[in-house]
């Protein structure tokens, strides 16, 4: 199979990730943060090492800032539902995923409102103007993706952080698509809440994500309450992260697998991964641009303005049909709306969706050539 659906989840996983998951099941089988015996302590130590590595990778103040979550979606929900109060207002971009949109719709029941700011791909100043116009005195939070999961467009999150802070608001960045490719430093960027998937560009297993806090002294309210193994006589959740956000037994295989994925990314270097994948995708773009029935919607992929995500349609064929035909030929792509209706509405593809191609560290040029050949015959 030629796997080009890495925007949904990277595959295959590096050998070190598979080994780490297996090691979690064979050697680190105790519940971390619960017992005091040797395997509980060694498991907890292993989890802590991953936490510390992630904190360093993202420029966080310390391991306590890294809260493991089941995924990026839950991390975003923690921020939205833990920060916002009735009467608050939120500004989001017109590229947001349903992980942002749907919780905000739900929060409308609590008189929390939001405004969608127009972005202008390739023009950060114009994008900033769009956000500036959307800000209000009651705006408490700016939520934006670091890069569109449909079009690959990057947003100027550092400038948006400065804007949010100037209005007394905070910023939450959805880095589901960008973590592992785009260097992120919480201390420098001003990002208050960073939400990441562990199973995409960080090459971990599914079922693990991150909420990284810039200020651990002022954490959001909780989304889920329950046992943490500590301060058990208190009826309230612990005040301090990460335990505050980690009720229930942690996903140790996921966490240790994510740690190994991070090691893989660090060894290759995020910038090098980004450059290599972008170069591959740019070649594919050139080939597809010569196919008369293929419609491309974005400029040629190039750093630093975009991530290696390419969406297109084939004239006369619904995107799902293109995906079905490619699937029959052993090529895995993602079709439809990619859970991001706003992003499709923006470029006029809301009705039919698009076909999305995302390479990863293991994608070979020949595989993209095969895709282009298949498309040329449709």
């Amino acid at each position: 199979m030629i796997y080009l659906d890495n925007g949904a989840t990277t595959w295959p996983k590096p050998p070190g990730v598979r080994q780490a998951v297996q090691r979690a099941l064979t050697s680190f089988g105790a519940n971390p943060g619960r017992g005091g015996y040797a395997m509980a302590a060694s498991t907890d130590e292993a989890v802590f090492r991953v936490r510390a590595d992630l904190a360093e990778f993202f420029g966080a103040a310390g391991p306590q800032c890294v809260c493991f979550q089941p995924g990026c979606t839950q991390a975003i929900n923690v921020v939205l539902k833990g920060v916002l109060r009735p009467g608050d207002h939120v500004v989001i971009s017109d590229l947001e995923h349903n992980a942002v949109l749907r919780p905000l719709e739900k929060l409308g029941e609590r008189e929390i409102t939001y405004t969608v700011a127009a972005t202008v791909p390739g023009d950060s100043d114009a994008t900033m103007d769009g956000f500036r116009r959307a800000m209000r005195p009651e705006t408490k939070l700016v939520v934006c993706t670091q890069a569109s999961n449909v079009w690959g467009f990057r947003l100027p999150v550092e400038r948006l952080a400065a804007l949010a802070h100037a209005y007394g608001a905070r910023i939450c960045v959805d880095a589901a698509q960008s973590a592992g490719l785009v260097p992120i430093d919480l201390a420098d960027s001003g990002i208050d809440y960073l939400c990441c998937a562990g199973h995409k560009g960080l090459y971990g297993p599914m079922g693990i994500g991150l909420l990284v806090l810039r200020d651990p002294e002022d954490p959001p309210g909780t989304l889920v309450e329950g046992g943490t193994g500590v301060l058990s006589r208190q009826r309230a959740m612990p005040a301090e992260p990460p335990e505050r956000f980690e009720s229930g037994t942690g996903n140790v295989p996921g966490i240790l697998g994510l740690g190994a994925g991070l090691d893989f990314v660090k060894a290759r270097g995020p910038e090098k991964l980004w450059a290599a994948e972008t170069a591959l995708l740019a070649e594919l773009y050139d080939r597809l641009a010569r196919l008369p029935r293929v419609r491309l919607y974005t400029p040629r992929p190039a750093e630093p303005g975009s991530l290696p995500v390419l969406s297109f349609t084939v004239e006369g064929l619904p995107s799902e049909e293109v995906g079905r035909r490619l699937g029959r030929a052993g090529i895995a792509v993602r079709c439809g709306l990619h859970c991001a209706p706003l992003a499709h509405e923006k470029l006029g593809t809301l009705e039919e969706g698009t076909v999305r191609v995302c390479p990863c560290a293991f994608t070979r040029r020949e595989e993209l050539n095969t895709l282009a050949q298949r498309l040329s015959r449709m």
Binding site: R51, G62, P63, P238
Partner: protein, 76 residues
């Protein structure tokens, strides 16, 4: 050996504290804390009682929230 346990609550805070103390030359280990009145289960760092004041100063300087201090005698 008589030891002092600084109960810090969570295992993450306890591991951070132990790292800090070791970096400053104070031997420290993370351990499960005895049940603490009003708090219940938790973790903390154990240090040699002779280093208690030094450890306490370092933890306070680095803004660790010390929930309880317990003196422990070597058993067995």
């Amino acid at each position: 050996m008589a030891e002092t346990m600084f109960v810090l609550g969570g295992q993450t805070a306890s591991r951070r504290a132990a790292m800090l103390l070791r970096r400053k030359g104070v031997a420290a280990q993370v351990a499960r804390a005895p049940q603490t009145p009003g708090l219940g289960c938790g973790y903390g760092v154990l240090v040699d009682r002779e280093r208690r004041e030094e450890a306490l100063r370092l933890l306070r300087q680095n803004r660790f929230r010390i929930l309880a201090v317990q003196e422990q005698e070597e058993s067995g």
